[in-house]
Symmetry: C2
Subunit: 262 residues, 2 copies
DNA sequence: TAGATTGTTAATCGATTAACAATC
DNA sequence: TAGATTGTTAATCGATTAACAATC
């Protein structure tokens, strides 16, 4: 995302690589499961298995945080839970606003894992006047006009965009102008933000299409196990008049850019 | 993500790196937007900007598919839409089943981008007898018992898990046993699958926690701009009796492992 | 002590990027 | 032809991994 990078290291300032940061929440979740079961200590091998990574990677990742294990013994579960929580910023509270309360916003508001671990939904916002005043998961829906005042008065630091794609950039701009520097975007749109603003994106279509790519490969492998034929195809005319869809492609409906429920 | 790898290249068999595959859907979406606007040709610079990447990366990515551009001109939009669609497997239909019709499953069923582009929701399945028979987005909710027969009769190739975490692995096992090899997992659980099965995961908690990490760094940077103090902390006792939460950590409620709405 | 397991090193691999020759 | 832009090269950077010394 757009976090500033120091030269020579895509590391998060105090030395934790992005790839490691992205795995810390997974380790934390696995540790919490151990904790619930009453397990006091885990080895890197056990924890790695629970997190779905190999143990070398786990140990390397944890080594960026400090030396929190004990050789010959393993890691103290409660202690590591705390260290990772602290590193991730989960020992403080984060006020979140959800913009767009369609069926996705609804699901997000009801999502248990959201309100836990320091993420507090302090406001829901929607552009539809008919929905304003409704209560969802104990939070009232506010009009979009109040976005800025809510951010200021409630100290919102994280904005969640669950609007239709067509509204997402404008909502994003308003969030940023109001001082929000962390955005979670569910709208199928590439957001443009200034430096210093972090955007993470959750994109159902992208995930499905990646699955389809691999699924297609599997089925090709079954039906056509020999080395690939050349995939090169003549280039289109330089005047732009050629159209690949005469080649059997479906008509371009552009539906992928369609709105999310909002 | 368990696609088998050939040695020497984390490339998807016919030579497309994983990182490239993950961006193709983003390029496709940008191209569809150009197409809707009636733009016939785009340069790598324009398309890259629309997709939020730099143009060198875009050209490198596209070069794995073939030479579909025209030097001095750019890329024919419709032609590239087709080539990327074909490469991603979007020129065929993919029958999907959504397991778990809580508020998340509801949102997914209503999601427009789902049914478009070759992804067809052929069945909804839920464990709750009270919901069976309901219609959502034109699709009837079936009992969980019918999962296997539905997969067989409807030719399901993609399974979407939107159940509580506690049910996810069992649902996954049944999907796999019934022949599904592509799974999109929304449950906050690491799924174990045999080789040849692809799992992609969408995880709200993880995304929020990554945002929190960076947000914390930003606020630390403001309040404490000098070089880090040593972050090393004494290791816990080897008997596992130490507990970092006496250090100011919140009591471990384990809430993060809680269920998604299902 | 002997066994177990961490933390770290170094090699390898994959991804990114700038630059530019090729060529429309 | 001159200008524009692709496709590719090569350098660099980041991430992964196996192996093992350190050490509990």
């Amino acid at each position: 995302m757009s976090a500033a990078r120091s030269p020579r290291a895509a590391r998060s300032r105090d030395g934790i690589p992005d790839a490691t940061v992205a795995r810390l929440p997974v380790y934390l979740r696995a540790l919490l499961a151990y904790s619930e079961r009453g397990t006091a200590t885990v080895s890197s091998e056990e924890l790695a298995a629970a997190a779905g990574v190999n143990s070398a990677k786990l140990r390397k990742d944890l080594s960026y945080l400090g030396s929190y294990g004990t050789r010959g013994v393993g890691y103290d579960v409660a202690y590591l839970v705390y260290q990772i929580s602290r590193e991730l910023g989960l020992t403080q509270d984060w006020a979140c606003v959800i913009v767009g309360v369609g069926s996705l916003g609804h699901a997000l508001a009801n999502y248990g894992g959201f309100s836990s671990r320091g993420f507090r939904i302090v406001a829901l916002v929607d552009a539809d006047p008919a929905r304003v005043g409704e209560t969802l998961a104990g939070v009232v829906i506010n009009p979009l006009e109040d976005l800025e005042s809510i951010i200021a008065s409630r100290g919102v630091t994280i904005g969640v965009i669950a609007t239709p794609g067509s509204a997402a950039q404008e909502v994003c701009d308003r969030l940023v102008a109001a001082g929000v520097t962390s955005i979670l975007n569910f709208a199928p749109v590439v957001l443009t933000v200034p430096d210093g603003v972090d955007v993470r994106k959750v994109d159902l279509s992208v995930e499905l299409q990646i699955l389809a790519f691999h699924a297609q490969r599997k089925s090709l492998r079954e039906t056509e196990p020999r080395p690939r034929r050349s995939r090169r195809v003549p280039a289109p005319n330089a005047d732009g008049s050629s159209n690949g869809s005469t080649n059997g492609a479906p008509a371009d409906t552009g539906a992928l850019t369609g709105a999310m429920p909002g």
